[in-house]
């Protein structure tokens, strides 16, 4: 055996490193939590890294996982070693090809970061519901339980598949393994070389399609032979278990790491045994040790090979003493006889158990969607097996108070060994805590004999999000793959968490607490909430404090406190001798930041040097003096459901909610973000009513709907708070009304877009505008009071608002507010506008992506309703099917309207002829008409309530559909340009009255910025690490070719009035419409507070064209295309240089950048001239010749 080389990395990288080595073609598509594997592959290929055979694999991004599977199938058919990486719905999209690939006996491996499949809700977290859905495809299923195993099995799977000619899904648990950072032994290249038999590779290649030896594969077969042909593969499946085991044995000879396809671990005379797969096995393994140490007789059978399921080998793995078996499935199959591993176990035991009495077998579910799976739960499973009649079909880890499936467990049971250092860090996403911790793990993992593990828990919000880092260090490999709840060390990097969360709950007696606080050491005690003081005293904690912001600031690092806190951790924890630790931190700094510049390195080094003198141990008083209590997680005036259920989630107590607390079908109330006051902003905008020209732009661009405007009768100010600002409305239409702009101080994210867009300058102080950022804290209370008062002022009736002008339109109430999107998000202003204009009658089909996350990720939702209870009804189906999903809603609506109108006609005599006629003939093109129709429908419903006929009841249930609805299909460019394009095309071609809003960020933003077909030429993105060589797809142009689709391309920061006009026209158009909206994004690498200037530059340079194509104009004999962009006045390169995505290409590959930037200018010039040609073309419904004649006349 060679010297072992260790590395500290996460599961995705551990797998990708091997997969890259042993493949020639890699088809990729982003999906959490597997995206990083594809990202690594793309990055390595762009850096010229070669595989085992010294050649660079071709890495190709596809438009969907279905596409990736097709490409994989094709590549395999040509005989290339091919792989892909995926998860969840992605894997489901691959299923049709998986049947084919297996049916054709093709060697291939898919690496899957197993993830929940969306049911009542989407979840990005880990369980086996995706891989279980593939178990009938004929693929082998190989489960790895840890980062080390994932690394090893990536190779074993590939080697075995080549031998067996059966494809294999190698899966490991999403997040728990894919994202856990762990110190592992790397497989040396020569081991990889030895494991992959080139003769098999050549045989695989030899089976590829070639005109030199032509064959036909993929025939259609008939009843006469299909069945028999299907049975031809049996010998391959019969041989496969032995092949996999022998491959594992070969691997063991080369590396010393021995795996068994079914591996028993535990007491040789165990009576109770758990059967499980993947990461859960590690925690069970650890718990088995702990229980056997205290005299119990328990064990675990780890199922590594789930397909083929070799019943004989499986049963042979159990000790003869086995009396009771609990099979744990990390999936749910409602209505089944039991979950799959359980059912297979029953069958195997029934068929193969030969020794004395057959054991009892029970099955249970655990760990869905990364639900914690701890030794306490495992002990409960073993305890259940001790019962005379163990509970079957149980659940563990939750409280099922509805069907009473759950096992009770003792949450205080812990087996954490004393020798392991356990540290918890609470930070903000923006302060760099996670990055620093990843760095610390590497320092410890790579510089000491210690094993190291890191796991990171993130927030459901994208802005101001909290991160919790769980770090373990110890002298033995760490199997504890669950979150730490008995920490020796807890660091709180932000004082804002103190009055929200009971962070010290998880610290042990005599542990250490490190706090970053700006309070001086002698006063810091007084700033702590009561509960903190109690625990520091009662648990006898060592309490340290540092003003990390000061250290960072004084070293030139602004708010990046990561290095400060990292240094403090090493200084206090004593994992390494202090001097050595500091030397290692410095080395790590030089390694991480070296290529980013000496000065960045120097700043960080300075931080390390300046740190320790500011770190103080606090003399802990003997008495609790604080009266500070925790803040309620949610506004107390919310409904019981919001307070008790959503409130528990906000307070990070969602795990304690019982089954009965949750909606049965995934249906939740809207308008709930208003109760979750997040107080993220240190500064908020303050309105200067004296100089404001009341243009409404600040509210228009506000991504978080925290800037609101009302025009109202002056009498409403009678009881206004003193500081409430109210001035006469300037708009002539609103003479006599008062006008207020009010900011919600506790919902603002301080993004600053409002200040940047404000066109007014203070005449005495040119650095001030009509809206300016001011410190939040001193005015928080006052402005909260003003905000509450403002909300109570009645909305101006909608028919008094001229919606075509922003200054008036902006007083419409937004029904999309306070989302958890990134501060300064470029998408949300469009959604907010949509809800202002049509929200009270809108149904929204939302593609999966950023918008479905900030729109629909629990606990709270920004989609809201007005005082009458009307508001957008929202749903998310999938990523790929959103257009079809929305079309379905439209078709249903159309049918319902049609049937309702038929019923109105047939019931006319009962409901009144006049009402019936008015309802049927209503003009609902304007707000007034819609309002009147709503009144009529209310009258209709009252009248129908008095009728008893079946028809009347039918109409009553359909009456609301008679009020005009606005159907919106919204999503990002990943959906519209790539995965959902086929559906989008079909839906728009259908001619139905749907409105599509594409929020085009030009990358897959939600999964971390992978390139889509909307990504412009030369942009660096994930999956386009070398800069995108091709140009952006012109989706608008493609849709215009249908002729009957309203198409607009808009950019709010380019021309806001044009954006507004496009929304109004799209909705008014009685047919399909699509708006493609430029949405700036943090994935562009831009300065977010001035992001609208980037939009403007994109428009001014011609990079982003503004236009509207309105088929109604064609009906009037006019050219339907209106080019709203003026001729470019800025070279494209000036726009490109404003954004890091383009600048990075210049910095990393100046020669390529020069060429691509020139091509980008050519793209713009050509597109402009083509659009100009189209827009200026004479047009007539009777053909061009006639039009030309008309022009000549």
């Amino acid at each position: 055996m060679k010297n072992v080389i260790f590395a500290t990395l996460d599961g995705n990288e551990a797998v990708a490193r091997v997969a890259y080595q042993v493949n020639e073609v890699i088809a990729i598509y982003p999906i959490t939590p597997s995206s990083q594997m594809g990202e690594w592959a793309d990055e390595w290929a762009s850096h010229g890294k070669t595989n085992l055979w010294g050649t660079i694999p071709h890495v190709v991004e596809m438009q969907s996982e279905g596409g990736a599977a097709g490409a994989v199938h094709g590549s395999l058919q040509r005989g290339a070693l091919t792989t892909t990486f995926t998860a969840s719905q992605g894997l489901l999209l691959m299923i049709p090809n998986m049947y084919k690939i297996a049916g054709e006996l093709t060697s291939a491996v898919f690496h899957v970061a197993a993830r929940s499949v969306a049911a009542q809700a989407l979840s990005i977290f880990g369980d086996h519901s995706d891989v279980m859905a593939t178990r009938a495809t004929g693929w082998g299923l190989l489960a790895s339980a840890s980062v080390q195993e994932a690394h090893d099995f990536a190779l074993i799977a590939t080697a075995a598949s080549l031998k067996a000619r059966v494809p294999i899904v190698h899966f490991f648990d999403g997040f728990r393994t894919s994202h856990e950072i762990s110190k592992i032994a790397l497989i040396p290249d020569d081991v990889i070389r030895a494991m992959i038999d080139d003769e098999l590779v050549q045989a695989h290649r030899g089976r590829g399609l070639s005109p030199e030896h032509p064959v036909l594969r993929g025939t259609a077969q008939n009843p006469d032979v299909f069945f028999q042909a299907r049975e031809t593969v049996n010998p391959f499946y019969e041989r496969m278990p032995e092949i996999i085991q022998s491959t594992m044995d070969q691997f063991a000879e080369l590396t010393g790491r021995q795996y068994q396809v079914y591996e028993y671990y535990g007491a040789p005379d165990a009576e109770r045994v758990i059967v499980a797969m993947a990461s859960g096995c590690e925690a069970i393994h650890e718990t088995v040790d702990a229980l056997n140490e205290v005299g119990e007789k328990v064990g675990v059978v780890k199922v590594r090979m789930y397909r083929p399921f070799d019943m004989a080998r499986f049963v042979a793995a159990f000790p003869e003493s086995t009396r009771a078996i609990a099979v744990l499935d990390r999936t749910k199959e409602p209505g089944s006889a039991g979950e799959p591993l359980y059912v297979d176990t029953i069958t195997a035991i029934f068929e193969e158990w030969t020794s004395h009495a057959m054991p009892i077998v029970v099955g249970g579910r655990y760990g869905l969607s990364s639900k914690e799976f701890t030794p306490a739960m495992i002990k409960a499973v073993f305890d259940n097996l001790s019962e005379d009649k163990p509970k079957n079909h149980f659940t563990v880890g939750i409280n099922d108070d509805v069907t009473h499936t759950s096992l009770n467990f003792d949450p205080d049971y812990s087996i954490e060994p004393k020798s392991v250092v356990r540290a918890l860090f609470y930070g903000l996403g923006s302060d760099g805590t996670v990055g620093a911790n990843k760095n610390s793990i590497k320092i410890i993992g790579e510089n000491t004999d210690n094993y190291a593990q890191g796991y990171f828990v993130y927030d459901s919000k994208k802005s101001g999000s909290m991160t919790v880092s769980h770090l373990r260090f110890g002298s033995k490999p760490i199997r504890s793959n669950y979150q730490i709840d008995k920490a020796n060390f807890i660091a709180c990097h932000q004082t804002v968490f103190l009055d929200k969360y009971d962070i010290l709950r998880d610290v042990v007696q005599g542990g250490t607490f490190l706090l970053n606080s700006t309070a001086p050491v002698e006063r810091v005690w007084d700033t702590l909430p009561q509960r903190y003081q109690e625990q520091i005293i009662n648990k006898n904690l060592n309490f340290y404090v540092i003003d990390a912001y000061r250290v960072a600031r004084e070293s030139g690092m602004r708010s990046r406190i990561n290095t400060v806190m990292q240094t403090c951790f090493f200084a206090i924890s004593g994992i390494l001798p202090r001097e050595e630790a500091i030397a290692e931190i410095k080395k790590a700094i030089e390694k991480s930041y070296g290529k980013k510049g000496d000065d960045i390195v120097e700043m960080n080094l300075k931080v390390v040097d300046n740190c320790l003198e500011h770190l103080h141990q606090v003399d802990v008083p003997n008495e609790v003096t604080s009266t500070i209590k925790f803040l309620p997680p949610i506004a107390e005036h919310a409904s019981d459901f919001v307070c008790d259920v959503l409130g528990a989630m906000v307070a990070r107590q969602g795990d304690s909610l019982p089954v009965s607390a949750l909606p049965i079908d995934g249906t939740y109330p809207t308008g709930t973000t208003q109760y979750e006051k997040r107080n993220l902003a240190q500064e908020i905008p303050v309105w200067d009513s004296d100089i404001c020209i009341q243009c409404g732009k600040c509210a228009f661009v506000c991504p978080h709907a925290v800037i609101r405007i009302k025009a109202y009768e002056p009498e409403h100010t009678e009881n206004a708070p003193d500081s409430f600002k109210s001035v006469p409305a300037r708009d002539r239409d609103w003479q006599g009304l008062n006008y207020s702009i009010q900011v919600s101080p506790e919902d603002c994210t301080a993004c600053g877009l409002c200040v940047d867009i404000c066109p007014v300058k203070n005449k005495s102080q040119s650095n001030l505008k009509a809206i300016n950022m001011m410190p939040q804290e001193p005015i928080r209370e006052q402005e909260s009071e003003n905000w509450d008062f403002f909300l109570d002022i009645p909305e101006l009736p909608r028919n008094m608002i001229k919606v075509s002008s922003i200054r008036q339109q902006q007083i419409q109430q937004p029904l999309f507010e306070f989302s958890g999107a990134c501060a300064g998000c470029g998408e949300t202003p469009y959604l907010k506008l949509l809800t202002q204009l049509f929200g009270d009658r809108t149904i929204i089909a939302n593609a999966t992506g950023c918008s479905s996350i900030y729109g629909g990720n629990l606990p709270t939702t920004p989609w809201s309703h007005n005082a009458d209870g009307y508001g957008p009804a929202w749903s998310n189906s999938l990523f790929e099917d959103n257009a079809e999903f929305g079309l379905g809603m439209r078709v249903a609506l159309d049918k319902q309207i049609e049937y309702a109108r038929e019923l109105v006609a047939s019931l006319a005599s009962d409901i009144g002829e006049q009402l019936a006629n008015e309802i049927r003939d209503a003009d609902q093109t304007q707000e007034t008409g819609i309002h009147e129709q709503r009144e009529r429908v209310n009258t209709l419903k009252e009248r129908l309530n008095g009728l008893k006929s079946p028809q009347a009841k039918q109409l009553l249930s359909l009456a609301d559909s008679l009020v005009k609805k606005s159907m919106w299909i919204v999503g990002g460019d990943g959906w519209a340009y790539d995965i959902g394009y086929g559906g989008l095309d079909h839906v728009l071609a259908s001619g139905r009255n749907v409105n599509v809003l594409v929020m085009d960020t030009e990358v897959y933003s939600n999964t971390g910025g992978q390139a889509s077909k909307a990504t412009p030429r030369s942009a660096i993105a994930k999956f386009a690490a070398g800069g995108k060589p091709g140009g952006k797809k012109d989706l608008g142009m493609m849709m215009m070719t249908y002729g009957n689709i309203y198409v607009a391309q808009v950019a709010m920061g380019g021309k806001d009035e044009q954006t507004l006009r496009a929304f109004l026209e799209a909705e008014a158009y009685d047919g399909p419409s699509i708006i493609i909206a430029y949405s700036h994004c943090i994935a562009h690498g831009i300065h977010m507070p001035t992001a609208l200037q980037n939009q403007k530059a994109a428009v001014d340079s011609g990079q982003w064209l503004l236009y509207r194509y309105n088929p109604d104009l064609a009906d009037d004999g006019k050219n339907p295309l209106i080019l709203d962009s003026r001729p470019p006045k800025l070279p494209v390169i000036e726009y490109l240089r404003m954004e890091n995505r383009f600048r990075m290409l210049e910095m990393s590959n100046p020669d390529v950048a020069k060429q691509r930037f020139a091509e980008a200018q050519e793209d713009v010039d050509k597109r402009r001239s083509f659009y100009e040609y189209l827009a200026n073309r004479p047009f007539s419904m009777n053909g061009t010749e006639e039009a030309l004649e008309e022009v000549q006349d």
Partner: protein, 333 residues
């Protein structure tokens, strides 16, 4: 005619040097300068702020929004190499040295002591013939004494001197209480030449947008009076060479500067106004004038009208100003 001069220890074929300007970003322009007779070129400035800002912006954008949300732990692929502006600049020095036979002087523009001094060393390694250090600084802190500002500049020059072996020229502003003392101090810490003077960017106001706007004004011949005076005063008072810059637009201007003691004269505004060919025209003009006036060489003329060689030493001082005012006649309107 012998136009030869020495500057920064190098023998130059003439005193006509192309000063730092954005024109130098293009290698073709540098070649053209050589073709039309420039004796040396000073490359465009690498700005300390630019170096810092570029790096910090990159860091910010690579880190912004990362490690905050489980699905998007980062937004960019990790670049394998990053050619910062500094790398491109160093590459430019190398290419310029390969492309032309005349000396190539690198220009580093900074105002604080810090890591950027390392770039001076890298410039040397890249083959720069010399470094022109531009200590552009507009002190705005009312609590900072003038002496501190001066000391900072002296410290920077000393630090760069310690960092490199190649000659250093220091480009200065005239705004010191005692320019001569400042010149002497820089001379003492090892400046091989002083380039007089820097012209500061003065912001303008756009009355439409009420924003400050950069608005670079090209020099006019009047601007040469200040360097003319100070070169005249410093000639032979310090060991360092003297380069004249600002307001040199004609052969006469060059001759005047040489007469007060300049080793070289530098031009940019004239080039921006008239094109690179101006070098050729001026060289011909200088030659012609020297011939007409029976001079043998530039060296012969150099410093002939400096303060120490002047008939009237007060010409460079206060008395001359009073005389100037007394003889001023108001225009009739």
């Amino acid at each position: 005619m012998n136009l030869k001069t020495t500057y920064l220890g190098m023998e130059l074929k003439s005193p006509l040097v192309a000063s730092a300007s954005p024109l130098m970003q293009d290698l073709d322009n540098i070649k053209k300068f050589e073709d039309v007779g420039a004796a040396a070129v000073v490359l465009h400035s690498l700005y300390e702020e630019e170096i810092r800002l570029e790096r910090r912006a990159l860091m910010h954008h690579l880190e912004h929004g990362t490690e905050s949300y489980a699905e998007a732990l980062s937004y960019f692929p990790e670049p394998q190499v990053l050619y910062a502006k500094t790398d491109a600049y160093l590459e430019h020095i190398r290419k310029a040295r390969e492309a032309v036979g005349i000396p190539v002087i690198a220009s580093l523009n900074g105002s604080s002591s810090g890591g950027w001094i390392n770039f001076a060393r890298q410039m040397q390694e890249a083959g720069a013939s010399a470094i022109e250090l531009n200590t552009y600084n507009v002190p705005t802190d009312p609590t900072q004494a003038g002496s501190e500002v001066e000391q900072l500049i002296v410290d920077i020059v000393e630090a760069v001197r310690d960092a490199v072996n190649i000659p250093i020229a220091v480009k200065l502003s005239p705004y010191f209480s005692n320019m001569a003392n400042m010149a002497k101090r820089l001379d003492n810490v090892g400046a091989n030449a002083l380039v007089l003077f820097n012209r500061f960017y003065q912001p303008d106001i756009n009355l439409e947008t009420l924003e400050h706007e950069p608005n670079i004004l090209l020099s006019t011949p009047y601007d040469m009076r200040l360097p003319l005076r100070w070169i005249g005063i410093l000639f032979k008072q310090i060991d360092a060479d003297l380069a004249a810059t600002s307001g040199i637009h004609s052969a006469e201007d060059v001759i005047k500067m040489l007469m007060v003691g300049a080793n070289v004269t530098m031009m940019t505004s004239a080039v921006l106004k008239h094109g690179i060919n101006i070098f050729q025209i001026i060289e011909e003009g200088v030659t012609e004038w020297l011939e007409e006036n029976d001079y043998e060489s530039v060296e012969q003329m150099r410093g002939s009208m400096s303060q120490i060689h002047s008939m009237d030493a007060s010409a460079f001082e206060r008395a001359q100003y009073m005389r100037g005012l007394k003889t001023y006649v108001l225009p009739t309107s």
